[in-house]
């Protein structure tokens, strides 16, 4: 691939010196976008898995005796249903804890009708027809409502898909901007080094030899920028995941980029270096073709 590399270009100053920094910033943005997109994807998968293995049945009946009778009937029916691993009624205190964010800590009237909640764990191996189960529940207990979380989950999935598309667009824009910056840098480099290039041509240097000198230079720019960018990206991800861990289990922590899952991020400097070098090679080769 390299052949003979004859580094005839003087050390880069001013304009080219900034290129590694620009590449580093671009890689930093790219790494954060990619890590966020992957984290959202992983979080959604985890939610879907958790929610698909669990359904909730509410018994909404105002009369307490009737509610208890329907609850017991539903429990018997559920425990006899293939695919149901277990079904248990949430204790009154647990139900009160769930509604407390809406009702506050004020003492609740004992006569206030609170629905019974049955937490149903599915075994995950036997498929269950939710529509049929809902019909059987209604036949068993007219006050029973089945919630398989699909409505809420589909909204979250739609939102997550939009965010992932936006992040992918950000990555594409960052990559295209990096290519454009390298092309501009390269053209500036060609203009700056027009004299040495002309002399090399007159001494019999082939285009490939001149291209290689630029290849090496831009590969080094890419590696420098890539390493700089990835160090800051990994530090940022580590900081964010630590802060999310302090928040505890929940929505935030499940979609937070996890630095441990991103060892593949370390490949990004290599990708950045190769992208920089290839862009430089094509730019220089095209420019040299216009020379005699």
């Amino acid at each position: 691939m390299w052949g003979r590399t004859l580094q005839f270009l003087p050390r880069s100053k001013d304009r080219e010196g900034l290129l590694p920094w620009v590449i580093g910033v671009m890689l930093f943005l790219c790494a954060l976008s990619v890590a966020s997109a992957v984290a959202i994807g992983t979080g959604i998968e985890r939610w879907s898995r958790d929610l698909a293995s669990n359904v909730t049945v509410q018994i909404i009946v105002s009369d307490a005796a009737e509610r208890e009778e329907q609850t017991n009937a539903v429990l018997r029916m559920l425990n006899a249903t293939p695919g149901v691993e277990s079904a248990s009624v949430l204790a009154n205190a647990e139900v009160m804890a769930l509604v407390s964010p809406w009702l506050g800590d004020l003492p609740i009237d004992a006569n206030l009708p609170i629905p019974s909640l049955i937490d149903v764990a599915l075994d995950g191996t036997t498929p269950i027809n939710m529509a049929a189960l809902a019909e059987r529940l209604e036949a068993t207990a007219p006050g029973a409502r089945l919630d398989d979380h699909q409505e809420w989950l589909s909204q979250i999935l739609d939102l997550a898909s939009v965010i992932q598309i936006v992040l992918t667009a950000v990555v594409a824009m960052v990559v295209l901007s990096t290519i454009a910056i390298v092309i501009f840098g390269c053209r500036a480099g060609l203009a700056t080094h027009a004299e040495p290039i002309a002399i090399m041509h007159l001494m019999g240097a082939e285009d490939s030899m001149i291209c290689r000198a630029f290849d090496v230079r831009y590969l080094i720019h890419g590696i420098k920028g890539g390493v700089f960018g990835i160090i800051f990206a990994v530090l940022t991800l580590w900081l964010v995941s630590n802060m999310a861990a302090d928040v505890g289990e929940g929505l935030v922590s499940s979609v937070t980029p996890d630095v441990s899952m991103g060892y593949w991020l370390l490949l990004l400097p290599l990708v950045a270096a190769l992208l920089t070098m290839t862009t430089a090679r094509l730019t220089v080769r095209n420019a040299l073709r216009d020379m005699m």
């Binding site: 002399i199 090399m200 041509h201 007159l202 001494m203 019999g204």
Partner: protein, 236 residues
């Protein structure tokens, strides 16, 4: 003037203009035989530099036939040019040395382009720099060299590949008379070992001293003068 193909380089009715400008060279015809020595003279703006650029393959002519080493320049692919250029050594008026490289590295460039081994490069470059009297200045960078030293480095770089054609643009323009005489002696020595040489100069004393044939350019038109004779078709 009809030129045969048995010459090393032939120009036949060559015209040259840059973009849509006026013609710098008009109907230029001449031939360089292997091992010949020619001076190229003419006032400033006569087209000497343009003719030299055609000679060292920096440009293609706008019209006319140019033949280099048996190859027609018009039908030559761009990819074939490097091979031809390696057979031509050029001494630029302003030296055009690489300022960030030492004298040794500058002279070594043509050999390294050709793919010579490290040992070959070291041996040849040291020998040649000694020949031009710069054995003590091998590792000096151009900024620390005098005008004469730079010119000798430029000459060494031009001849390191033992070129078939050596083209020099005012090689004595920046040096004192003594150095000028020594440099010309160097060109004559190279010519004696078979290098076809074309030297552009303003120095008529030098032309007379060497006594070589002269190509004279005036307003883009070329005239010839054999050694020791008057220009054909032109008043002196």
């Amino acid at each position: 003037m009809k030129l045969g193909l048995d010459y090393m380089i032939t120009f036949e009715n060559v015209g040259m203009r840059y973009d849509m400008g006026a013609e710098i060279l008009q109907d230029v015809s001449f031939a360089l035989d292997k091992g010949s020595f020619h001076f190229l003279v003419g006032p400033s703006g006569a087209g000497k530099t343009t003719l030299l650029k055609l000679l060292y393959l920096a440009h293609r002519p706008s019209r006319g036939l140019v033949n280099f080493f048996g190859k027609d320049l018009a039908s030559l692919e761009r990819e074939e040019l490097p091979r031809l250029r390696r057979r031509i050594g050029v001494v630029f008026q302003d030296f055009r040395l690489f300022d960030h490289l030492t004298a040794f590295e500058n002279v070594a460039l043509p050999l390294r382009i050709k793919g010579a081994s490290r040992n070959q490069v070291a041996d040849h470059v040291e020998e040649l720099l000694s020949w031009v009297g710069l054995e003590d200045r091998m590792h000096a960078k151009p900024a620390t060299l005098s005008g004469g030293e730079k010119q000798r480095v430029a000459i060494a770089r031009a001849v390191i590949n033992k070129p078939d054609l050596l083209v020099a643009d005012e090689p004595t323009g920046n040096v004192d008379p003594e150095m000028s005489r020594r440099l010309m002696h160097l060109f004559v020595e190279l010519n004696k070992i078979g290098t076809t040489t074309v030297v552009a100069t303003h120095d008529e004393t030098l032309v007379k001293a060497i006594g070589a044939p002269v190509l004279s350019l005036n307003k883009g038109k070329l005239s010839h003068r054999e050694a020791g004779t008057a220009f054909d078709g032109e008043a002196q």
